[in-house]
Symmetry: C2
Subunit: 294 residues, 2 copies
C-alpha cells in the first residue's frame, strides 16, 4: 500500500511541476529557474512527509468516499515544504550536493557559468526556496474538504514552518558554540524543532486536521510525532557515521565534515579521555565564529 | 481616516509581536532572534499594504458590522510579507541599512560579535525571513469571515509571494546583464512582478477576496493594482536620484550605487552620446557575473 501511495505522490508531483499556475508562470519567465526547481523536486526521495499526511487523513476522516486525488495533491505541500527547507539549508551549510546531485544553489552557478561558490547561486537559491515555500502553501488548498478544516491545516503548516526555522536558527547558533558548551538538552530541543516537527508531527497533524480530528486526538498525534521525529534524527546521525554515501545518497561523514553538533558527537566527546577531547575541540572549535550566543 | 487606520495597524503590529504564538515561541528560544525581528518590524513605515487590504475589504464587504479588529490583524499579513521580502532582498543586495537602521543580517552580525559582512548574518537573516513569511500566512487567518473567502485569500497570498520571488529572480539576472542588453520590456515586467503585485494588486485583491468579491470585480482590481504598482516603482526610482536620504529614509543613490537597471537609468543610457554610454557601460558592467542569461 505504501508503495502504491508513493507512486501516486510522485505522479502528482510531476503533475504539479507540469501544470500548476506557479510553475507555469516560472517556466514562461525563466527556463533556468523552472528546470532548476523541477530537477530538484523530482529527485528520488522517501516522500515520507506526504505519505504521513495521507495516512493522518485516512485515519481520521469520516467520509466514505474521500477526495483521494485532492488529498494527494494537498499532501504535496509537505514535500514542497521539505524541498524549500533543504534548498535554504544547503545554502546555510555550504553543501555542494543533495540527494546525490548538486545542491540547487550550486546548480544555478553551473547553469549561469558562475564559479561554484559564487554568491549568485546562493541569491538565486534563496529566492527559489521562497517560491517553493509559497507553492507549498498553495498546494495545501487543493483538497475538496470542509474549508474550516483547510484553514486549520494552513495554520498548522505556518506554525511548522516557523518552528522548523527556529530549529534551524538554533542549529546555526549551536554549531558556532564550542563543543564543550553544548548540552544534551540544547541538541534534543533543536532536533525537536528542526526535524521532528516537520517530518512526523506536522504531516500527521495536517492530515488529521484536514479530516477534522478534534483537539484531544491531535494532542495525542503531536506527542507521537514528536518522539518519532527525535528517533528519526538520531537514526539519521547514526547513518551519517556508519553507512556509506552509496547507501544514504548523502556524502559520508557529512555531519563530521561540517562539524555538526549531533548528539552522537556530543556523547563521544563526553566519554572521551582528555587527549581525545582536546583533539576534538581543536577540530570542532574551528567553526566557532561567535563571541556571544543566545 | 488613513491616519487613524495607520495607527490601528501599528498598534496591532505591536500586539502581534507581543502575543502571537510564533513570536512567543521565538522569544523563549532565542532573545536575539526575537529582538532582531521585533526591531525590524517596528521600524516606521507607510503601512501602505495593510491599509490597502483594509480598504479593499471595506469596499466590497456586505456586512454591516465587519470584524474590524480581525480585519486589521489579517491585514498585517501583507506588512509581514513585505518585511520578509525586504529581509531577503537586503541579503541579496548586500544592503547595509534598511529604513534608516542596519539591515537585519547586519544586525545579527553585530549582536553575535561577528564581522559586519560575515556569512553568519546572512544565514540567520535568511532563516528570520522564512519565519516572518510563515507568520504572514498565519496572521491572514485572523479575521472572522467565511472560511471559503479566507482560503481564497491564502491562495492569493501564496501566488503573490511566488510572483514577487520570480520578479526578484529576474531582477538579479537583469542586474547581471550588460546595461545595453536590457530592454524596456524586461524592466517593466520585472517591476510588475517584483513590486506591483505585492504592493497594490495583492493587498487590494486579498482585502476584496476576504470580503467575497466576485471574479469580475477582482479582475478589475488586478488591472488597477498593476498600473498603480508600476507608477509607484517609477516614482521610487525618481526619489532615489532626486531626493536626499533624509527625505526617503534610504541612502541616496542606492540604485546607482548597486548598479540597478532601473527604467530611469536605461532611458538615460538610451539618450546619451557615445562617450557617456561608454562611461556608463564601464561602471555598470562591472557587476556582470554571468556568462549565460535566461
Amino acid at each position: 500500500m505504501l508503495n502504491t501511495l508513493k507512486k501516486d505522490i510522485d505522479k502528482e508531483l510531476a503533475e504539479f511541476l507540469r501544470s500548476s499556475s506557479i510553475m507555469m508562470s516560472i517556466k514562461r519567465s525563466s527556463p533556468v529557474l523552472y528546470k532548476g526547481i523541477k530537477d530538484f523536486i523530482r529527485r528520488p526521495g522517501k516522500r515520507i512527509r506526504p505519505i504521513l499526511v495521507v495516512i493522518g487523513y485516512l485515519g481520521y476522516t469520516k467520509r466514505k468516499k474521500p477526495d483521494l486525488r485532492g488529498l494527494i495533491r494537498s499532501s504535496l505541500s509537505m514535500e514542497l515544504l521539505h524541498d524549500f527547507l533543504l534548498i535554504h539549508d544547503d545554502i546555510i551549510d555550504n553543501s555542494e550536493t543533495r540527494r546525490g546531485k548538486p545542491s540547487l544553489h550550486r546548480l544555478f552557478n553551473t547553469k549561469y557559468g558562475a564559479p561554484p561558490a559564487d554568491k549568485l547561486g546562493s541569491d538565486l537559491g534563496l529566492i527559489a526556496g521562497d517560491i517553493v515555500f509559497a507553492a507549498a502553501i498553495k498546494e495545501l488548498l487543493s483538497i475538496k474538504e470542509n474549508p474550516v478544516h483547510i484553514n486549520k491545516a494552513v495554520s498548522i503548516l505556518a506554525d511548522i514552518a516557523a518552528q522548523t526555522g527556529l530549529g534551524e536558527y538554533l542549529d546555526v547558533i549551536n554549531d558556532s558554540k564550542g563543543i564543550d558548551a553544548i548540552t544534551e538538552q540544547d541538541i534534543l530541543s533543536m532536533y525537536t524543532l528542526k526535524t521532528a516537527k516537520y517530518t512526523f508531527e506536522g504531516p500527521l497533524l495536517i492530515g488529521s486536521s484536514l479530516a477534522g480530528a478534534n483537539n484531544i486526538e491531535t494532542g495525542k498525534i503531536s506527542k507521537l510525532g514528536s518522539f518519532l521525529g527525535q528517533a528519526f534524527q538520531l537514526q539519521d546521525d547514526l547513518l551519517d557515521i556508519f553507512l556509506s554515501s552509496k547507501d544514504t545518497g548523502k556524502p559520508a561523514f557529512k555531519d563530521l565534515d561540517e562539524s555538526k553538533r549531533t548528539l552522537l558527537i556530543r556523547e563521544t566527546y563526553a566519554r572521551s579521555n582528555n587527549t581525545s577531547r582536546k583533539r576534538m575541540q581543536s577540530i570542532f572549535n574551528k567553526k566557532i565564529r561567535l563571541k556571544k550566543t543566545s
